[in-house]
């Protein structure tokens, strides 16, 4: 596996081990990547589609002086749906001639699903972070109102809500404007 994202690499490695594909090495894109691969002599290379090292890797296969066995790249041409699914998930694979088709399929399926799960996780995390940030801004706005107007927290929230409804804006936008203005007036 060549992946510069250690978390995604760990998620995929675990999946592959559980599925019984035990002999896995994790590499990152570095100047010595090609030498490391030549020493490992893998049956299959799974690499992040966007990894800038892919052009170097492909040339190594073309020249193939470094690699003892011929390398058939990507998956069997007949399986175009598999290729599409892999590219969409951001998975690229290179396969050494002779590896059984069922094994290739099982490894690729696992890679695709783990890559997808990882990007889902990442976007969920990003969303959770932004939700947390939003809550913080609203809390700050409430605190400003409570202090300036000597009102309770529920009253402050009700005021924000009412203002948002009247101005046809989101509570977050009103809160943000309030926090910014308060900052300027400090």
């Amino acid at each position: 596996m060549v992946d510069d994202d250690p978390v995604r690499a760990a998620i995929l490695e675990q999946g592959l081990r559980e599925a019984g594909h035990g002999n896995i090495a994790r590499l990152t894109a570095s100047a010595s990547l090609l030498q490391e691969l030549a020493v490992l002599d893998p049956d299959m290379i799974i690499i992040d589609l966007a990894n800038p090292s892919r052009d170097s890797l492909e040339q190594m296969f073309q020249i193939s002086r470094h690699v003892p066995r011929p390398v058939a790249m990507f998956v069997d041409q007949s399986d175009s749906s598999m290729i599409e699914a892999a590219v969409e998930a951001g998975v690229s694979a290179y396969i050494v001639d002779g590896l059984k088709k069922e094994r290739i399929k099982s490894i690729l399926d696992m890679s695709i699903s783990r890559f997808k799960a990882f990007s889902r996780l990442k976007s969920e995390l990003a969303q959770a972070r932004s939700e947390l940030e939003e809550r913080k801004v609203i809390d700050k706005a409430k605190a400003i109102l409570m202090q300036r107007r000597a009102i309770t927290e529920p009253e402050a929230y009700a005021l924000l809500r009412r203002t948002a409804m009247n101005e046809n804006r989101r509570i977050l936008d009103v809160a943000q404007a309030l926090v910014m203005t308060a900052g300027l007036l400090k």
């Binding site: 100047a31 990894n51 892919r54 170097s56 073309q62 990507f74 690229s92």
Partner: protein, 367 residues
């Protein structure tokens, strides 16, 4: 001047008032310029095309996303497109090029160490032609081999690339056998600068602006623009999948590039073009550097040349059979065409001058 390029005729095939989304993948290089101009100067919009440009880090990623339809079209190395058509090194994908994006644009950059050695051998006052520098390099290589030193290492940007063929052609001018006397490695352009600086390669061949970027980083000096070695070398094509030849936007793509080339050829637009290209979402290089490269005045390690570094003019956008043949022959000479010259007929399907003519002049009967 090509007829129809400059006029404001709306694309005949574009549905009125409705824009067609088209996504094109590109690699950050100066020869993606016409795509950027088409988008930024409204030539895509004039054709009813809602153009999205997606920047990629590798040619492999551009190719794969085009193959499965995530991209409608792609900025592609002419030899890589031929390799796809012939299924060399990867899957067979019938690609067609209804328009080209440029001629020339590459240069050879050498490390400061190698530059010092060459300078010592050349003596002062000599015009450092490619033939002369290659002969001098040949002596240096022989000395290096005699003293048991490691072979000269040369970086190129892709296995199937004009960069490799241009360097090979130059080496042969000095009687150097590119197969045995040197070592080639493939490194993506953005990493080339570091590799030269760190001494992982002694020289590299890449497209603009990466040669000047290497100079700016203090990693080396530009020795020859490749136009000094092979004149008018076809470089990047705009390719689409064969099945898309009749897509409603296909002829619009050709017209937007042809118009962008007319705009780009106007010297008055150079400063604005440089500013567009300098943006981090396109190339991310200094505006002045890009302007200098576009100016056609190239200062090199041992002199200067007034040959244009890169050709982005309307003539450079013609996807002629002769140009594709030229690239095919370069690949064949390098031993990259399994099956040899007999495969020209297959490879020739890449060039679609007929679509280019159709887009610019309409069907033959209407001319």
């Amino acid at each position: 001047m090509t007829k129809g390029v400059g006029d404001d005729r709306q694309s005949a095939s574009a549905p009125r008032g409705q824009s067609m989304p088209v996504t094109i993948g590109f690699v950050p290089l100066l020869d993606a310029a016409l795509l950027v101009v088409a988008r930024e100067e409204g030539f895509a919009e004039q054709e009813g095309i809602d153009l999205t440009l997606v920047r990629e880090n590798s040619w492999a990623a551009v190719r794969d996303k085009l193959n499965v339809g995530l991209f409608d079209a792609a900025h592609m190395l002419a030899p890589a497109a031929i390799a796809s058509v012939l299924g060399i090194g990867h899957l067979t994908v019938p690609l067609i090029a209804p328009v080209a994006l440029n001629l020339d644009g590459n240069a050879i950059t050498i490390s400061h160490g190698l530059a010092a050695q060459l300078r010592g051998e050349l003596g002062s006052g000599t015009v450092a032609t490619p033939a002369l520098t290659a002969q001098v390099l040949s002596r240096l290589i022989a000395r290096r081999a005699a003293s048991g030193g490691p072979p000269l290492t040369i970086g190129v940007v892709f296995g199937f690339s004009s960069h490799l063929y241009q360097i090979q052609t130059w080496l042969r001018l000095g009687g150097i056998d590119p197969e045995t006397a040197v070592r080639f490695v493939v490194i993506p352009p953005p990493l080339m600068v570091e590799s030269l600086g760190a001494g992982l390669v002694d020289m590299f061949c890449a497209g603009a602006p990466w040669n000047r970027m290497a100079e700016a980083a203090g990693a080396g000096l530009v020795l020859h623009p490749c136009a000094e070695i092979i004149e008018e070398c076809p470089e990047k094509l705009l390719v689409i999948r064969d099945e898309q030849a009749q897509a409603p936007w296909a002829t619009g793509l050709v017209r937007m590039i042809a118009r962008a080339a007319v705009w780009t050829s106007d010297e008055q637009n150079r400063a604005l073009l440089a500013r567009h290209l300098a943006r981090p979402d396109y190339i991310g290089a200094p505006v002045r550097m890009i302007e200098e490269i576009l100016s056609g005045h190239v200062a090199t390690a041992f002199g200067e040349t007034r040959r244009p570094w890169i050709r982005l003019d309307p003539d450079a956008t013609k996807p002629t059979l002769a140009r594709v043949r030229f690239v095919f022959d370069l690949m064949d000479r390098a031993g990259h065409i399994s099956g040899g010259a007999s495969r020209w007929h297959e490879a020739s399907t890449l060039a679609r001058p007929d679509l280019y003519e159709l887009a610019l002049h309409g069907p033959p009967s209407g001319r």
